[in-house]
Symmetry: C2
Subunit: 398 residues, 2 copies
Amino acid sequence: MTKYAILGFGVVGTGVAEVMAAQREKLAAAAGEDMELGYILVRRDMPDSPWKDKMVKDFAVIENDPDVSVVAEVIGGVGPAYEYSRRAILAGKSVVSSNKELVATHGLELAKLAKEHGVSYLFEASVGGGIPLLRPLSRCLAANRIDEVYGILNGTTNYILTAMDAQGQDFADALKKAQELGYAEADPTADVEGIDACRKTAILADMSFGCNPDPASIPTTGITSVAAADLELARSLGYTVKLLGRAMRTENGCRAFVQPHLVPLTHTLASVNGVMNACAIRGSAVGEVILCGPGAGRYPTASAVAADIADAVRHRAAPVVPDLGALGGKLAPEEELASPWYVRVCAKPDEVCAAFPEAQPVYGTTMECAFLTEPMARPALMARLAALEAKAVWRVLA
Amino acid sequence: MTKYAILGFGVVGTGVAEVMAAQREKLAAAAGEDMELGYILVRRDMPDSPWKDKMVKDFAVIENDPDVSVVAEVIGGVGPAYEYSRRAILAGKSVVSSNKELVATHGLELAKLAKEHGVSYLFEASVGGGIPLLRPLSRCLAANRIDEVYGILNGTTNYILTAMDAQGQDFADALKKAQELGYAEADPTADVEGIDACRKTAILADMSFGCNPDPASIPTTGITSVAAADLELARSLGYTVKLLGRAMRTENGCRAFVQPHLVPLTHTLASVNGVMNACAIRGSAVGEVILCGPGAGRYPTASAVAADIADAVRHRAAPVVPDLGALGGKLAPEEELASPWYVRVCAKPDEVCAAFPEAQPVYGTTMECAFLTEPMARPALMARLAALEAKAVWRVLA
């Protein structure tokens, strides 16, 4: 028997408490011992909560209880979440986290600290929500040199793009609908500008390649400039548009970026719609695997956090901490990656043909046309686009 | 430092040796200690093999070497594979296996034996090949009551159905092509009759629900009676045809079966083509996740076996053995499951309408038509089909 504590009691925190209670026996079998909820750290009293007897407002109570072996940080952000994670590790407790912002910015430091203090540091829920992703990546695929990891890492933007594709909505209307349904926040910046996907891409880059980039250094383009015309034209070319976070091995390191991509309609990622997420992993032995599922939400996220709690307890004697940061934080330039491109322009066929003789432009219901290019790096593309006024330029997932 | 042994040196065995050598450092980090290939058990001499120094023909050499802590059984079948697995466990060695036939028929017994002798028994490669599947199911999703597991579990049949769909080939031609390409064996019975998928379904049923059915008791229909007309008609209804193995929780146990299904073209499983496999898992907290990838092949299978070897070494002090067999082996009847159905008949619209007034039949290039029904159990369907001569009757994945 051991105790765990939950830091933060919002959507995810309540989910963790419920899931840990609902599957207590099964989780005890996975952990190798029974696990009891010791404390819930809250900022204000919740006198009507069924969990009120477990609530404390002072982290020191948790920190000083030697029976607490695991702390689940589901506060979010980097202020108190960072401080409490640090203090928990220093107090000899394993930390599990769903907090992609904290893991992307301080994960390396916390992982090192965890190693020094002989505790586990796990954050399965921080990327892909409920999808088993980081554990399969690091353990089930341990016999692989990982070559690329890419996927749909943000449910809000995938919901918006799916609605734009299915209903011909423009971005603003689709965003408004997503906000009404609770899939987008009142301030949607972190989602629609790709910031959330960027943090997850940073974590994937480190888990896959030991490359620990500052998220701010990852070239990131969100979906605010994707137009209804792009979805329509993409479909007539046999593609859909998805916001992809990508991290790939290069000769001496890693390249990472977040951008809208044209994805072939026949690709499994094209079937991942609405708030679903999916991540493809290319490995030297396995080839490619794709893991799909709910990337957010109370219970899916709690499912991942609870599994981490059980895993941390199971490995108390031989803690589990991912190997992060071995390659440093430097990224290879995004622009050097050659790929086919999708270009939307307002131009006549002969103008397109002058710049891209091999292109086969398609015309939509607007005056615009779109075409795909041969594979090339970004500077070469830009040189050839000089004579055309491109409205959209996205990579094609080849 | 510990030693492992490989039993059997065919396609998978050589892959395991290669992958373990290629990723030795990474696997050592995953295992917590370096792992050296101790022995390869072979039936005949291979004097030209680069691994010849490791080869032995007498299992007793492996059995009696106390430095060997893990044995990878990749022989296949139930004869020597069963005997050596048993003896390895009795000798205090963990066993990992890619052998679905052995795991489906003797897995429960070997798991019990492994528990008694304090060693691990792992078989990730036995279902889904290289796809991280059993470990995510049992560990990453430990906080879930699993409600259903279903998927495309056999690459040969999926290759054949994909070819029939894409090229309008009939079964015999597609099988012949698969045999030429090495995707189907000279005797394709185990694949095309669903026997291979049935064994994997049996393993999934036990891992998910603790139901340990005799594979022979799982209702199993292969793809030999799927006609080119079915693919054509299914597509005009918005579906494709996939051979699915399914296992689902019932009130007091589990139901399991293997049958061709109509899968909506919008479903992620419809995008899983050729020799790829995919498995969907529905859990009480996570909702649904789908794991896709190569279900067979030398290196994908070796990827899973090597990860199991590392996992067994990592957990030498606290072995990992799945909890199997708690519910016994009894299955709920397949026919009681209500679902929509696909029916292909040679009948005129008024004849269809007389038996299924709500049906909207579609006509293909043959004289036949097909329609979908409302959800109903099999006996109710059969009663209504009495007046029609049905050529194909498959469940629709709802």
